[in-house]
């Protein structure tokens, strides 16, 4: 299974970036081999609006089944729901820690966004 994780750096030992739309990187991690692909999100970091929507589209295009992040706003959450991608908020530690926590059942999927939209 492919798991998308927001990351402050471009490798699997980097810390999870708590922001979703404006995360520095998004890593697409294979849950069995821990191989990963790095998506550079810098274009979205400075987006005026719609960063979450764009990041969610990227994750969906990579056919990830789950997203692990810190905070997910309402618009991004709507896109993830439409794309049938589970969202686990409150991920922390390294990207690897977050993936392990999810596999071990310690990072539950949320059924709603956990932050307000940006104005």
């Amino acid at each position: 299974m492919k798991i998308a994780v927001t990351s402050t750096g471009n490798d699997i030992d980097s810390q999870v970036d708590p922001r979703f739309g404006r995360a520095a990187y998004i890593l697409i991690v294979d849950s069995e081999t821990f191989d990963f692909e790095v998506l550079d999100n810098k274009e979205n970091v400075n987006a005026l609006k719609g960063a979450g929507i764009q990041a969610a589209s990227m994750v969906s295009e990579k056919a990830a089944e789950v997203l692990l992040t810190g905070f997910c706003g309402p618009n991004a959450f709507k896109v993830m729901q439409a794309a049938n991608i589970g969202v686990a908020n409150n991920a922390e530690g390294s990207v690897k820690d977050a993936v392990r926590a999810y596999i071990d059942g310690n990072l539950p999927l949320s059924d709603q966004p956990n932050v307000e939209g940006q104005w």
């Binding site: 609006k49 929507i53 589209s57 618009n75 709507k78 439409a82």
Partner: protein
């Protein structure tokens, strides 16, 4: 003739100048309160509103059955307001800037227009002044289309005063653009000066003749006066600090009614504007 009254800084006295100027002109005058996030000229003019209409901006609605998921709408939208995801198209109407691009590029005619409520426009009349203002819907982020809806009521045969919002961003530009003259209002403080410079920058970009009113002109420092001289911005009026003005304002009263000598001053301001605007 249409003039706009603007300032970089908030609270300098735009509405005070706009309303008192309107009341000092002998002929019929229109006052358009384009500070649609917080209109308040009506508190001074106290008109009876006899017309209210709701203003909408077009946003896309998608017929999912017609859509072939080609993604062209997604590509053209600069605001991520329409996204193709999996087997669905998701519009985000609150992010839409109403450009119509998605509709134009859709090969299947799957997108039609529906409306997002921007707010209301109200018209009223009092003492020879026709007051028109917009009130932005709470939660709505886009003021410029509502400002344009207020300005659509401009009557070219009348002298029209636009009370602009503070700042120098899109709503201010929407209020000042295509006016014949911009009257800037500031106060002689470092804050007033800083924001006046920003406002002058915006006015220069729009290439509109401008003049300055300095409110509470005898407090603070004289850097605003020096700056005005440097950039050839004519100072058309100075309103000294006066407790009686502050008291009148605090009761929602007009300067020209409480201190009748100001009627002549505002009258002169009007004629100066006419001369400068050509």
């Amino acid at each position: 003739m249409i003039i706009s009254i603007a300032s970089g800084k908030g609270g300098t006295g735009k509405t005070t100048v706009a309303t008192n100027l309107a009341l000092s002109i002998d002929s019929d005058v229109q006052l358009l309160d384009c500070d649609v996030e917080e209109p308040n000229a009506h508190l001074f003019i106290q008109p009876t509103f006899n017309h209210t209409e709701t203003i909408y901006t077009p946003v896309p609605e998608v017929d999912q059955k017609k859509c072939n998921l080609c993604g062209k709408c997604n590509e053209i939208c600069q605001f991520k307001a329409i996204v193709v995801i999996g087997e669905t198209v998701l519009p985000f109407p609150e992010l839409c800037h109403s450009c119509g691009g998605c509709m134009a590029v859709c090969p299947e005619d799957a997108i039609t227009e529906t409306g997002r409520e921007l707010g209301i426009v109200q018209k009223g009349f009092c003492n020879g002044i026709q007051l028109i203002h917009g009130k932005l819907r709470i939660g709505e982020a886009m003021a410029p289309p509502l400002i344009r809806a207020v300005r659509a009521f401009t009557r070219p045969d009348q002298f029209t005063i636009i009370d602009a919002p503070p700042g120098t961003s899109c709503p201010v530009i929407a209020a000042m653009k295509d006016t014949d003259f911009v009257l800037l209002v500031t106060e002689p403080t470092p804050f007033g000066l800083n924001d006046l410079k920003l406002a002058v920058g915006a006015v220069k970009l729009l290439n509109i003749p401008a003049g300055l009113v300095i409110n509470r002109s005898d407090i603070g420092d004289n850097k605003v006066q020096e700056y005005a001289r440097e950039v050839d911005l004519p100072i058309l009026m100075e309103i000294p600090f006066d407790r009686r003005i502050a008291e009148a304002y605090s009761r929602g009263e007009m300067i020209v009614e409480v201190l009748p000598e100001y009627k002549e001053k505002f009258h002169r301001l009007y004629h100066n504007i006419i001369n400068l605007a050509g």
